[in-house]
Assembly symmetry: C2
Homo-oligomer: 216 residues x 2
């Protein structure tokens, strides 16, 4: 059964290419120590077996901390490791097909790059949205034009499911997206490429908390 309550505040997405040769499980553990509340493993080049082994290497730790494990793209890997959810982009498995496979045992998050994507995903039964890119980002080169804060606000007004903002987010930009009603911010390089991922996560959490306090 999928978890009932998810804290999307600081949502880490991994990227092996940005890890500077460090192991992703070590980075994930440090980031959670620093305050990451949700982890999405994203692997585009390794073998299926290696992806499964990596997910297993962090699963018990995450469970012990109450942090959900979400798998990018690969419904097979998510099923294999008993993940809490799967995150699907517009080039991944269609939402309806994935829901028929995982039923209500798993969260399904959908990448939305437009208002139409967002409304369609909510209507199709997505559990949350990854809204991107908010700002220009060096991590992904195949993304749509940035939505900006106005685009994020328009999506926030149109859908009621949780929204995680992604794309060009860091300590400086986090506050603005939280004030636009995002339930959390997702980061890749701001933690994966950081000299000290734990400290980077800690500073991001502080920025999010501070934005919520001044906004409330």
């Amino acid at each position: 059964m999928k978890p009932e309550f998810i804290d999307y505040s600081l949502y880490l997405v991994t990227d092996r290419g940005l890890a500077r040769g460090r192991g992703l499980p070590d980075i994930v553990r440090a980031a959670v120590q620093g305050g990451v509340t949700c982890v999405q493993l994203r692997e585009k080049t390794c073998s299926t077996r290696e992806f499964i082994e990596e997910a297993r290497a962090v699963k018990e730790f995450l469970r012990s901390r109450g942090v959900p494990l979400i798998i990018n793209d690969r419904v097979d890997v998510a099923l294999a490791v008993g993940a809490d959810g799967v995150h699907l982009g517009q080039k991944d498995m269609p939402l309806a097909v994935a829901r028929a496979i995982v039923t209500d045992t798993m969260l399904i998050g959908i990448s939305a790059e437009s208002l139409a994507d967002a409304v369609g995903a909510q209507g199709g039964g997505a559990d949350y949205l990854g809204v991107s890119p908010i700002f220009p980002t060096p991590t992904k080169t195949d993304t749509a034009a940035p939505l900006g804060l106005e685009g994020l606000q328009a999506i926030r007004r149109a859908v009621h499911i949780p929204l995680v903002a992604i794309g060009g987010l860091n300590r400086q930009t986090a506050a603005a997206v939280v004030r636009c009603g995002a339930d959390g911010i997702a980061v890749v390089s701001a933690i994966v490429a950081a000299e000290d991922p734990e400290q980077a996560a800690r500073e991001l959490v502080q920025a999010i908390r501070s934005a919520r306090r001044t906004w409330a």
Copy 2:
């Protein structure tokens, strides 16, 4: 429910990189016209959605011909399209994990590069084995040393489930592996890269039939 009887005689494995720019669905249809009895779609670079669309593009045609559709590596894609089976290499999802996911709704084929792989896969409940490489092959560069006909015979003596031989097989070499007790031969470039895939399949079927007649 997985199909009860599979004819493994001529088993096509696709490879987009060898297709000379032609669409794989067209090659698959031509190859089945020529006599291919089993089709494995193998995609290592395209998106999940594109892989699903490609599989859907051939599924009804294959079903109408009684030719099973098997998906390489990706249990998620196999589930999404309702394939007849999934084929797993030693770097893909472990057999026991895949069986727990697909239960008895799908065939599971396992790549065996040694006698130990073959015996282990049979013991783990594999439906058939792809035994490779028999001969040196240009299609895959990450394979083990060729087993040769002696290696194939040793595996044939050790396991009772169907064996499909793969690696360096063509009209000239097909007869020898059939006489070693292989239930079929799998080819990639001999059909996918052929000027005329239908004619190439027809000639391979004739070579297999001829070998079986002279052997019986």
